[in-house]
Symmetry: C2
Subunit: 263 residues, 2 copies
């Protein structure tokens, strides 16, 4: 009964794909009857918008690519493609979860946006030393509009030589490593833009960075709308996410929990 | 050269899996020599901690399950398993990205934590009407320590009858739908606990909810450490993520961007 009522209610009107939300939003159906009055023309055949590629490698951290993937996929006409050295499932740092790489690096020679996520120590080191990945990153970077990273992904960009002489950020515990081992000025900010390169801090910072990137690509109105679309009104339960304010014991425990969760 | 230096630096000492971060954190190597002094015993063989299962369905939104997966995977000994009606890749609402379901619902009869993500209208409606999924959710729920949802996943829990007479939250634009079609009191909060059921608001709210859940499972110290581990110190670029403060035009655009991005 409920389900029948649901279907009737949800699928009424010409905005079926948005009906679940529209049904609960007074005036939306009317508004959708006047989409030409919207400030942004969003309806485009898929693929006519930005081509966004996310490079996966064995041992990536699952939130690093997926936060930005959800955000950037809402850009008008955008396509988001997971890419790896080989097609197929790619394991996260815990080994529990696998995300599918739909394309191999050999199949991709142009992207509007490249995003390199971070990962555990094992996976990040392997990516930093994988010449095939680094060569591909350099080749793709020549033609991107934006080249971006999340967390320790900036160490991979640095290994490819893309951050030389630049300001960049990374995971809070890797900042000193980034500035010591590469000619990079580490900046402890949520995200850092240097020319067409944007690096984000750890893990969840990819969400903030990708919302900023969305506004660079499609304007502030779209950026603001996507922030609402993903209901990004964060309420961290503990307020302990800023390493600059964390005591050493909590930092030790955070790193230990990460280390013990990773294969 | 850099990579050689990297390997030498990173792999020195007995904390290789944390070395990338430890190398950049003064005193950490020393701290790791005294892990027995840590306030929480984190090192456990995988699988001795909570068994966390995330139910995927065609058309889920990629951040809904992956934010909590990253957070909850850092719990000592935790295993995170992606589950679907059938094993194998499961498409997101945009159709661009696929996450692998490692187990079918027929293969899983006990979980400590069940999480049901939300999705686009098409995928959520199908899940709300899939009796096999709803039966499995009811069966698993009988023995869970915690049954949780993100975004429109609460509509799936409601369809399974789990939210009857309870307070719950959901995606901002689906709150009225939830309270109209089910015997549920919609509460516009980031996450809402009712007994052993915890529902989260839209998409990114799963991160807040799962950090709270982590503290319920392993204590506040671990919750605080995981919040730092995923560097959850959010800085939303626009501050437009709260629907209660959004103007109608922005809500319309947010829903239109979602609708147009979904297959």
């Amino acid at each position: 009964m409920t389900n029948r009522a649901t279907r009737r209610t949800l699928l009424r009107g010409g905005v079926a794909t948005a009906a679940l939300t529209a049904a609960a939003l007074p005036g939306t159906a009317h508004a959708h009857a006047h989409t030409d009055a919207l400030p942004v023309e969003t309806r485009r055949p898929g693929g006519t918008g930005p081509k966004i590629g996310i490079l996966l490698f064995d041992g990536f951290s699952v939130l690093d690519p997926t936060g930005p993937a959800d955000v950037l996929s809402r850009l008008p006409g955008a396509t988001v493609t997971m890419i790896a050295e080989q097609r197929g499932p790619v394991r996260t740092d815990t080994g529990d979860v696998r995300l599918v790489a739909e394309r191999s690096i050999a199949e991709v020679d142009r992207l509007d946006v490249l995003l390199v996520p971070g990962g555990g120590n094992r996976g990040t080191i392997a990516a930093m030393q994988n010449q095939a990945l680094l060569d591909w990153i350099r080749r793709i970077h020549r033609h991107t509009r934006w080249t971006t990273s999340v967390c320790t992904g900036s160490l991979v960009l640095a290994s490819a030589g893309l951050l030389t002489g630049r300001r960049a950020t990374t995971y809070w515990a890797s900042g000193e490593y980034l500035s010591t081992h590469f000619d990079v000025t580490y900046v402890a900010e949520r995200y850092v833009r240097s020319g067409k390169i944007i690096t984000a801090a750890g893990v969840s910072a990819g969400i903030d960075m990708s919302l900023y990137l969305a506004s660079l690509i499609a304007g502030d109105t779209v950026g603001k709308a996507i922030e609402l679309a993903v209901e990004y009104d964060p309420r961290p339960p503990f307020g302990t996410g800023d390493a600059a304010k964390a005591d050493p014991a909590l930092k030790e425990l955070a790193l230990r929990l990460l280390a013990d969760s990773q294969i």
